[in-house]
């Protein structure tokens, strides 16, 4: 085992220790691992299975059910643009083009430096201020091409938004 994997396993055990071992603890555990590591890899699934006694196959079943949980590594910042009707009518397509052009990737992809992933999501409850998107835990409304560029720049310049902190609404 390399030092890296051992360190990750230790961190995983620290996360697990915060939770109980009942079936009802499964979703909170998976949500936390996904937040902490950005995804849930097969080693994590084995450890969660050991910890809770839930069979590996069932854990897979639960993970695949939720669009925010994933077994594939995502970028450090996951951008989820709302594609539902109120955002669509407010110019979502233009925001799609700006995001793809600025980041040099298409929706569904992650930048080579592992910083950004682009995804679609359904209504995020920001319809009064469309178009809107989430970046990790934070919601951004009233998007314009200029604002999107500003937001992306602020992430590139400083990593002011800690991935593990809770965001807000802007």
């Amino acid at each position: 085992m390399t030092a890296g994997i051992r360190a990750a396993t230790d961190e995983l055990q620290d996360v697990l220790r915060k939770f109980g071992k009942n079936r009802t603890d499964l979703l909170p555990i998976l949500v936390e691992i996904n937040r902490y590591f950005g995804h849930i890899d097969s080693n994590s699934i084995i450890e969660v299975s050991r910890y809770t006694g839930v069979p590996i196959g069932e854990i897979h079943g639960v993970i695949t059910f939720y669009s925010f949980l994933g077994q594939k590594k995502r970028g450090r910042f996951v951008i989820r643009l709302c594609r539902t009707i109120s955002c669509d009518m407010a110019g979502k397509d233009q925001i799609v083009r700006v995001l793809e052009k600025e980041l040099g990737i298409c929706f569904g992809e992650t930048t080579d430096d592992g910083m950004f992933s682009l995804e679609y999501t359904n209504c995020i409850g920001m319809c009064n201020n469309p178009p809107a998107m989430l970046i990790n835990d934070k919601a951004y409304g009233g998007l314009t091409p200029e604002r999107v560029v500003e937001i992306l720049d602020s992430f590139k310049l400083s990593e002011y938004q800690d991935m593990f902190g809770y965001g807000g609404v802007e």
């Binding site: 979703l27 639960v62 925010f68 009707i85 359904n122 409850g125 809770y166």
Partner: protein, 389 residues
Amino acid sequence: MKNEKKKILFGEFVTGAALTRALEMGPEAVVTEVKASNLRGRGGAGFPTGLKWELTAKQESDEKFVICNADEGEPGTFKDRLLLMEQPEKVLEGMAIAGVAIGAKQGFIYLRGEYVYLKKELEEAISSMEDRGFLGSRINGGDFSFSVEIRLGAGAYVCGEEFALISSMNGYRGEPRNKPPYPSEAGYRDKPTVVNNVETLCYIPYIVTKGAQWFKEHGTRASTGTKLFSVSGDVKHPGVYELELGITVNQLLAEVGGEGAKSVQVGGASGLNVAEKDFDQPICFEGLPPGGSIIVFGHQRDMLHVLKNFMEFFVEESCGQCTPCREGNYRLLEGVRMLEKGECSVRYLKELEALCDVMKDSSKCGLGQTSPNAFLSIVENFKTEILYR
């Protein structure tokens, strides 16, 4: 809040007063008062809240639970987000009173993953109320204890359906199931559980302090009280409005600056599309669906494009458990794509309409039962626009 007229939910509120009153009244009197108010659930299905509480109160069990449904995922709604942001103590007090009524010591807020940024403030509101003796052990120094925890969802619209929500909290895939048993019999950890929408719970403190009679002065006979409407789309003033149940579409449009609309989606994607000729219809349990999502379409909008957006939503969010919903929504979306290309015959459109009836009758949960409504109502209202492109 956009409208100045403060009706119920954004009126005066002193944390703890209603809970103290509920503890004095005792469980039975609380249930009686809520039943007398005729309050019906604001989460969509409109089940009478007092009756739900009574059924759960009657169950013998060592443990019971109160769940606040904060999964708000219906396209076009954001009123629960506003309540959770601006009035967290009201939501929590409503939950505690539900706890008094049914005999529960533990409550949960099932918060959609998209709203994770509210978690910290909600937790702060919980500890602040604990510090002041309104939550936690031995509330008001008496025998009643009630604590609240937050559970995060992870991006699945169907988890707002109460059985799916419970299944999700129980550590399984968030899939709906056949009923009975109802949550009042077997919910979280198979114990009797009340599931209520955020907004429903917010009316409770007022009903307890001001009485059922006062509450019934608002709304219509079958739909008492006010309702929060989340308004978006082609309007001058999008936002959350508290309005009387029974308000007509026309009156609502005048309030929000949406006059001259082509049509209005009342009740979200799973609600109904309402065209100008029906703008005099009331929004209430005996009228147009009062889910609270109001999406306004101006005359420049292509209604087939709108319909396509809704059908894509349902195809994506169907949990896929039952065939009518999984296959049906896919077929409807495919039909929309054919219509786009001008390849859908009138005969095939009739077949799709028949398919809608099958979906309504044979889908397991509300998602598959209501998703055909968007299709049927838009096709009916805009047949010429849609068929002859």
